[in-house]
């Protein structure tokens, strides 16, 4: 009787704790402060894909930047334990980089996107624990150099 009561109490205590994330360190769905940065990085890859598809003449210039964002997304996913399925960009939303738009406008749009992305990564780096600062610092610096070459 006593034993049964303990078992029930034990179960009742364990369940909410697991839900709180105290004991589910390996749960792939446990939210991480870098999840939003990973998602926006993947979206950025999608924006570059759309821009390259719309303006193939920019491909040589934009592909290294697109590939850098893809590599950043991969490194972030690895750091926070997310599966590779999180790395596939969804199709670009309608209205972004319409085919036939002019190259200068596309570059200007991407430059603004890089500025926003750099600010987001900067905030993440400043708030991060020590062991994440090097990767985040490189991502911030890369985005700053992207703004530079989109000029």
């Amino acid at each position: 009787m006593l034993r049964a009561a303990t078992a029930v109490a034990g179960a009742a205590v364990t369940a909410p704790l697991a839900g709180c994330g105290l004991f589910d360190r390996d749960d792939p769905e446990r939210p991480d402060p870098l999840d939003p940065l990973l998602d926006s990085t993947v979206r950025l890859v999608g924006r570059y894909d759309a821009a390259i598809a719309a303006q193939p003449e920019l491909a040589e210039r934009l592909t290294p930047l697109r590939d850098a964002h893809q590599a950043h997304a991969k490194a972030l996913a690895q750091l926070i334990g997310r599966p590779a399925s999180r790395l596939s960009p969804s199709p670009a939303p309608a209205g972004s980089s319409p085919p036939g738009g002019d190259a200068a406008a596309t570059l200007a749009e991407l430059r603004i996107a890089e500025k926003t992305a750099r600010d987001e990564a900067t905030a993440a780096c400043l708030a991060a624990p020590a062991d994440r600062t090097a990767l985040l610092g490189s991502i911030v610096a890369a985005r700053a150099t992207h703004q530079e070459v989109l000029r």
Binding site: P64, L65, D67, A71, T122, D131, G137, S138, T145, V149
Partner: protein, 139 residues
């Protein structure tokens, strides 16, 4: 772990290198090298101040540094400028982990500035792509 003296040593070396680099550049490239040197002097001065006010003794610069290759013309001068910015950026990047608050902001800004200068010098040198995937990360 990277400490302030490592950062200071890197900045001393960068300033020495720009003395050599500047002598082989003209026009816009020379102006860019002067601006880069001024930026590294500012970083050095801030480090010296921080070390001194913390009760430490800033290590002085060496009179001469061995360059990784001979600098004889504009192309080799630009190559050295790129290497200086890459190496210095790497030291600032590795210092990030031991920082917090305002110091992390200035350390990150130093890494970013080194990366941007490296990219500008790559463009001047006609190197494509002018960007690297993970600025400051050891290859």
């Amino acid at each position: 772990m990277t400490d302030q003296q490592d950062l200071l040593a890197a900045e001393h070396a960068a300033i020495f290198a720009y003395g050599v680099i500047g002598a082989h550049l003209t026009g816009a490239a020379a102006a860019a090298a002067r601006n880069a040197e001024a930026a590294h002097r500012a970083l050095r001065d801030a480090l010296v101040l921080r070390l001194s006010s913390g009760g430490g003794t800033p290590t002085p610069t060496d009179p001469v540094y061995a360059l990784p290759f001979p600098v004889t013309d504009q192309a080799s001068a630009l190559r050295l400028a790129i290497e200086v910015e890459e190496k210095t950026g790497a030291v600032w990047r590795s210092a990030l982990a031991s920082t917090s608050g305002k110091e992390r902001e200035t350390t990150l800004a130093a890494l970013v500035d080194c990366a941007v200068r490296a990219t500008r010098f790559r463009r001047t040198a006609g190197i494509t792509p002018a960007t690297v995937t993970f600025p400051g990360r050891p290859e």
